[in-house]
């Protein structure tokens, strides 16, 4: 009789551990997938840059520093590894891109060209997509980190090989302000 009880308890514990492990694995996998989605979108945006720089250069040859900054920031983002570094490079790149567009503002003829408008449109779209994939990634990371910390998973998470929280893909200040006031959902 005692053996049956002990056996039952062991089986229950094993099942509970398996469920915890599977839950963590699933979220971990989802977060990795979401991260690779972000990098795809970032890459897509970077691919548009050489063309954009050439187009602007055709009208504003002497703005050399801006072109150099953008090209440098692009290379940095391209080589960035890991969440933190990528986020930092991305934010920097965004600043230089802003100054490139500020330069373009001074050339109405340039802004009127079809090529420039198309590039601008593509860039806006990619930016939206980066934001969308970032939001999904951060949501999954939040779920994963919460799961790791809630009882009883917190006791076993280290043992099961999930030793660290995942990093959020951090936002720049303006986005941060918007994200700190989330929507309250009530039923």
């Amino acid at each position: 009789m005692t053996w049956i009880i002990i056996g039952a308890v062991v089986v229950v514990i094993i099942l509970a551990l398996a469920a915890m492990y599977n839950g963590l694995v699933r979220l971990n996998q989802q977060a990795n997938e979401a991260w690779s989605d972000i990098t795809v979108q970032i890459k897509r945006r970077l691919d548009l840059i050489p063309n954009l720089v050439e187009t602007v250069r055709g009208y504003a040859k002497h703005e050399k520093t801006v072109f150099e900054d953008v090209t440098k920031a692009r290379a940095q983002t391209l080589n960035a590894q890991g969440v933190k570094e990528t986020a930092k490079a991305e934010n920097q790149f965004e600043q230089t891109l802003k100054s490139l567009f500020a330069v373009a503002e001074n050339y109405p003829q340039l802004r009127a060209t079809e090529n420039f408008q198309k590039l601008q449109d593509e860039l806006t779209d990619t930016e939206d997509k980066i934001m969308a994939s970032r939001r999904f990634y951060n949501g999954v990371v939040r779920d994963f980190n919460t799961k790791r910390k809630v009882f009883p998973t917190n006791i076993f998470a280290n043992m099961l090989g999930f030793k660290q929280d995942k990093e959020f893909f951090e936002l720049d200040e303006a986005d941060q302000a918007a994200a700190e006031k989330p929507v309250a959902v009530k039923f």
């Binding site: 994939s133 939001r135 999904f136 006031k181 929507v183 309250a184 959902v185």
Partner: protein, 290 residues
């Protein structure tokens, strides 16, 4: 949100169970009336085939019934991008996108799971809504896909149709019987009552399931865009313009964003959608809590 998906999967199973019971009961009464077990089996097989076809072809059927046309990115870049970005935010595969020629603003999502899903909007919606409103409406539709509401709706659609077919079959058998068997009077009465009641019950279950999901899709749609006002003002525009479609179709009404049928005030019991004013009020409340 994940608990929503689980509860919807459970709901699907419950729906299957209740409707199978209903269909089984009808088939049994039919068999008893004809005094042959073969009839019961025959009816059940027909019902099964009908339900399976309905479930798997339902998405395409509802799109075809409403005259929707599939589009690619180049056909409407604005709509395509809104859907694409929302799908990324929700972590869903890109659904198929359809447009339906109709001046009244409306939209719906259909399919059986996120991999087999489609969203459809009317040309009226595209004309009337600004980008944020369009985003609000489509975030609502994608929530239906994400939460597996589309599967529940599809099941409800297929199963209601099956109950309808069996009941119809029963009534016909009663009208066209050749010889009167007196010992069957009681069964006959039960049969007629069941044949009339069953489709009504089926439709009411279908409607109750659909109404509740609308509030939830509004809420999770607002969570996706983080901007409840977009959806609220879209609903307001719909309240002004009316969502009544030119080719309104009762069998697919519960798929839509806003009620596509005329006579919205008849009765709450027979409406697929909660009142617009109520939905707007709830969304505005979320916005003011931010």
């Amino acid at each position: 949100m994940y608990s929503e998906i689980t509860s919807n999967k459970r709901r699907s199973v419950l729906l299957l169970f209740v409707f199978s019971l209903l269909a089984g009961l009808l088939a049994w009464v039919l068999g008893a009336y004809a005094q042959s077990a073969g009839v019961t089996v025959f009816v059940l097989i027909i019902a099964l085939v009908y339900a399976i076809t309905g479930y798997f072809a339902g998405g395409r059927m509802s799109l075809a019934l409403n005259g929707a046309q599939e589009i690619q990115k180049k056909d409407n870049v604005r709509l395509w991008r809104v859907v694409e970005n929302l799908a990324i935010t929700d972590g869903l595969p890109m659904p198929k996108v359809y447009i339906m020629q109709d001046p009244s603003p409306n939209a719906f999502a259909t399919g059986r799971d996120p991999r087999h899903s489609a969203v459809c909007v009317t040309t009226g919606l595209l004309d009337i809504m600004n980008d944020q409103e369009l985003q609000g409406v489509l975030a609502h539709e994608l929530s239906h896909i994400k939460n597996y509401d589309i599967r529940v709706a599809m099941l409800a659609f297929a199963l209601t149709a099956v109950i309808g077919v069996i009941a119809d079959f029963m009534l016909r058998m009663v009208w066209f019987r050749d010889n009167d068997r007196n010992n069957n009077q009681l069964i006959l009465i039960i049969g007629i009552v069941a044949a009339i009641l069953a489709p009504l019950i089926a439709v009411m279950i279908q409607l109750a399931v659909s109404r509740k999901r609308e509030y939830l899709a509004d809420a999770s749609g607002a969570l996706t865009t983080r901007y409840p006002e977009g959806l609220a003002s879209a609903l307001e525009k719909i309240a002004q313009h009316g969502s009544v479609l030119k080719r309104g179709n009762t069998s697919t009404a519960h798929f839509f964003f806003a009620n596509p049928l005329k006579g919205q005030s008849i009765s709450k019991l027979f409406s697929t959608h909660p009142p617009l004013q109520d939905r707007i009020a709830r969304l505005r409340k979320m916005g003011s809590h931010a």
